[in-house]
């Protein structure tokens, strides 16, 4: 049911996010220039003569002025060329593209789980101030933001893998005896269902459970806190009193009138939550040996292989800008006033 107005809204928001995207690209470029070490010497190899290094430098365009180099960089980007990894010899774009679904699947499951628990908890806390739910929500939101994700991940591994034996070994997305399903979306949960294999779905879900919970524990806190505050504000407003006075059902008042309006500030914080999640993702991927973007970038970073790091920063920045765009559009859909105001 996409009408012209909605399309215009989306186009407008997209145009507004272009400067951010450009900022991400330019910052990434200058970070690469500031990186220690001489890329030309890296590419030429340890045994190269000074002339060979100079030749490579010329080939890479490193002897030109900065604006020219920026133009070259932008041109390469437009062609989708992110350079090559020195350690694997593979084009960075292919590596990132292969690993992006793993990271996204983890991040989105974490967020989904966090919303599944955090939003109802926030609503319950707001409708019953001073109750058990209220105290639980308050405790959770203060404790949750204080958790170092890399530490919670380890605690979960110790309890659920070592002690209880419920979780599989924290070694990636599938154990090494299981063949992955044919890649369609790259999301194992979806691909296994498409391949019609519940066993495979279950195997992937078991691997995903602990890292996703780790992320969720961290992201739940701001969501619950924000939902509670927004619900409290909404529930004390006049239209809720009017709805109650008009004899509407409890559910309708709470969900249709209350929650939908409380959702707006929650959506706004979602952008910040995503920023935290994408960062925490790197740590969680390291803890669970998750073959995503973060662990790829870390390996590259520690072996001074900078093209992948640069590609990683660029991809993360772009994903984040696009997610914010998506939230903006969602905001416009949830709140009809946002459309009228523009």
């Amino acid at each position: 049911m996409i009408e012209g107005r909605t399309l215009r809204l989306i186009a407008g928001r997209f145009a507004a996010s272009l400067p951010s995207l450009l900022g991400v690209v330019v910052i990434t470029f200058f970070l690469m220039r500031a990186l220690p070490g001489d890329p030309a010497a890296f590419f030429a190899g340890p045994a190269a003569t000074p002339e060979a290094v100079e030749q490579v430098r010329h080939q890479l365009g490193l002897d030109r002025s900065l604006p020219t180099q920026l133009t070259i960089y932008l041109r390469d980007l437009a062609r989708g060329d992110l350079g090559k990894s020195i350690t694997t010899g593979q084009p960075v774009r292919a590596e990132l593209w292969n690993r992006l679904p793993a990271s996204l699947e983890l991040t989105l499951s974490g967020l989904f789980l966090a919303a599944l628990i955090g939003l109802p908890l926030g609503v319950l806390a707001a409708t019953r101030p001073g109750s058990v739910f209220d105290h639980a929500s308050r405790l959770l939101s203060t404790a949750g933001v204080s958790l170092p994700t890399f530490f919670t991940g380890l605690v979960l591994i110790y309890v659920f893998y070592f002690k209880l034996g419920w979780a599989p070994a924290p070694m990636g997305r599938l154990d090494s005896f299981t063949d992955p399903p044919r890649a369609v979306t790259g999301f194992l949960l979806i691909d296994s269902l498409l391949a019609g294999s519940p066993a495979l779905f279950w195997a992937a879900l078991k691997q995903l459970a602990l890292p996703a919970t780790t992320l969720a524990l961290f992201a739940m806190a701001p969501l619950a806190r924000m939902t509670r505050a927004a619900m409290l504000a909404v529930l004390s407003s006049d239209y809720i009193r009017a709805a109650r006075a008009a004899g509407l059902g409890r559910f309708q008042v709470l969900v249709v009138y209350g929650f939908r309006n409380a959702l707006l500030p929650v959506l706004t914080t979602l952008g910040m939550v995503f920023s935290f999640l994408l960062g925490a993702n790197v740590l969680v991927e390291k803890v669970f040996a998750w073959p995503g973007l973060g662990s790829f970038a870390l390996e590259a970073l520690l072996s001074s292989d900078y093209a992948p790091v640069q590609g990683f920063v660029l991809v993360m920045g772009t994903v984040y800008v696009l997610l914010n765009l998506f939230i903006d559009v969602l905001y416009g859909l949830v709140d009809p006033r946002a459309k009228v105001a523009r």
């Binding site: 400067p19 990434t28 220690p36 170092p148 920063v313």
Partner: protein, 319 residues
């Protein structure tokens, strides 16, 4: 500069600065007089709030304890935190080694205690830097408007366009892998929070009567901004600083967990958890647990302290 002294300084500043009428900020249009306590009743107010709120008192005590350990450092550690002793490697907690020993036989209790100073210093350094840069930039943006505001706004937006931890990783990678760059990276990613807060506070204040009065009595623009307006945003800043400390600490420890900045064998909580991560799957839980727990408690302490400070500075924003 610690949050505790900050708080007192800020309160004193609030008491000192507005000899001119102060228009209440937009956030709390009819804020009670208690929101801007005068020096006479501040002590009483503080005592009252702490008595009402034992959690904040507890957090304050933990904080004082942390600072004390940070100052005393190695002198209270029972063992040399760097001395390895392979015969005693991987021992579970016992009467001799309360927190056990790690893979090189180093005493974990000593390392956790010694790490307090480094972890606190990194977070404090980062927060102090981002507070200074962010609050001044945000204040100037709101006060001078025009191109100052456009530049500050653009820089802040660009920083916020990245997932912050990823940006911090990239900055450390670009500047070089050492401890001071961890502090700079953590400072840079936190600047936007201070800049935005300062900007919104000053935007409200610059329309107030005190600005006009100060101008009429012959103050220059700089003096209006930094002698008359800036002190008024400090209480809000102190709350932000305290809430930000925990997050800065998590960031710095996270960076060293992934192998950036702090080098082994330095005792630091993030890197100690990273050491212990390899032994979790074989059941040696104590190597990662104690430093991780120390980090968690320190961060929790700062967050609770921040919540408590917010209740003192601005009771209406209590959540």
């Amino acid at each position: 500069m610690t949050p505790a002294t900050d708080m007192v300084d800020a309160a004193a500043a609030t008491a000192r600065a507005p000899s001119l009428p102060l228009v209440p900020s937009q956030r709390s249009p009819d804020a009670p007089a208690a929101a801007v306590p005068t020096s006479g009743n501040f002590g009483r107010h503080l005592r009252h709030v702490l008595a009402e709120n034992p959690v904040t008192l507890g957090a304050l005590l933990v904080f004082i304890g942390l600072v004390a350990i940070g100052i005393l450092g190695a002198s209270i550690a029972p063992f040399d935190p760097l001395a390895s002793n392979t015969q005693d490697a991987l021992q579970a907690p016992s009467r001799h080694h309360w927190f056990g020993t790690d893979q090189l036989g180093r005493d974990i209790l000593s390392r956790v205690l010694v790490a307090v100073r480094l972890d606190l210093a990194m977070a404090l350094g980062a927060v102090a830097l981002s507070f200074l840069v962010g609050s001044v930039a945000g204040s100037c943006a709101a006060f001078f408007q025009g191109w100052t505001e456009r530049i500050v706004g653009r820089v802040v937006d660009t920083i916020m366009a990245f997932p912050l931890f990823v940006l911090a990783m990239a900055i450390v990678a670009a500047l070089g892998n050492n401890v001071s760059n961890i502090v700079y990276a953590t400072a840079i990613i936190n600047v936007p929070f201070y800049a935005r807060l300062a900007r919104s506070e000053i935007t409200v204040l610059r329309e107030s009567g005190m600005v006009e009065a100060a101008r009429l009595s012959g103050n220059s623009r700089w003096s209006i901004l930094f002698r008359h307006l800036y002190p008024n945003i400090l209480p809000a800043m102190v709350v932000q600083i305290s809430l930000n400390m925990g997050w800065a600490m998590l960031n710095a420890a996270g960076l060293s967990f992934i192998g950036l900045g702090v080098r082994p064998p330095t005792a630091e909580w993030g890197i100690m958890v990273s050491d212990g991560a390899n032994f979790i799957v074989s059941g040696e839980w104590w190597i990662a647990l104690f430093p991780g727990f120390a980090l968690m408690s320190a961060v929790l302490c700062f967050n609770l302290l921040g919540d408590g400070l917010r209740d003192i500075v601005d009771p209406r924003r209590r959540t």
